[in-house]
Symmetry: C2
Subunit: 114 residues, 2 copies
DNA sequence: CCGTATCCAAGGTGATACTG
DNA sequence: CAGTATCACCTTGGATACGG
């Protein structure tokens, strides 16, 4: 997302927001967690097109930014559960409006894909 | 933005929306045009941190997706004016909500930038 | 003034194999 | 089950110079 070197005068809120929803699967992951798919294995099953590594990178970043947090249950097999923080929940309206807009404008945007 | 090879079952509205606001300067450009900075030279002056080439790439893409359109005035020196289409205007609320969210959550997101 | 071509650096993503 | 390391690839962004 090439957003790290933006000088201060252009580091607007959009840059900040894009750090959260800008990744290829970040918004998708946030949506899944908000819907109760809180275990990594569930995410992997839903997102078979991607490797666990990429999902984990996104999870680490969302964690770092305070969007999600996790509970590690002791014992074997391992059990980890992610959940949205309050900050994370505040992102849902953004994802929602983006999703609705995209669904309503799929034609003009997706068709010229040459 | 690596959004081109997303399989259909995951090609949700978010992917579509990110094609519009996902680029490093796309949302910024849309904002500028909506505020009346409609000539390329104005955009270049506002965005001196970037080369004209990058701005033009974004403009071409926004044009391709029907977000902006342009009027080419004949004569020399050349004069071009961009404007938002109706579709483009419908993007403004998304940019607005992202910008506000980002401004309100700058701390937790920006600080862990290690 | 406007736009593009070329070359290049860097970041994001993907496949696999591996450890605890 | 959960997570990481290494590899290679593709996309994006950036600097410069040039043509309409």
């Amino acid at each position: 997302m090439y957003l790290k070197k933006i000088p201060d005068e252009h580091d607007c809120g959009i840059s900040v927001a894009l750090k959260i929803v800008g990744g290829k699967w970040k918004a998708w992951i946030i949506n899944c967690i908000s819907k109760g798919m809180i275990r990594p294995s569930q995410l992997h099953r839903e997102l078979t097109v991607t490797s666990p590594r990429v999902i984990n990178i996104h999870l680490r970043e969302l964690e770092k930014y305070g969007i999600i947090d996790k509970i590690v249950h002791p014992g074997l097999p391992l059990k980890v559960e992610y959940f949205l923080t309050e900050t994370g929940k505040s992102v849902l309206p953004i994802i929602d409006i983006m999703e609705r807009w995209g669904d309503n404008h799929r034609q003009p945007v997706n068709e010229p894909d040459n």
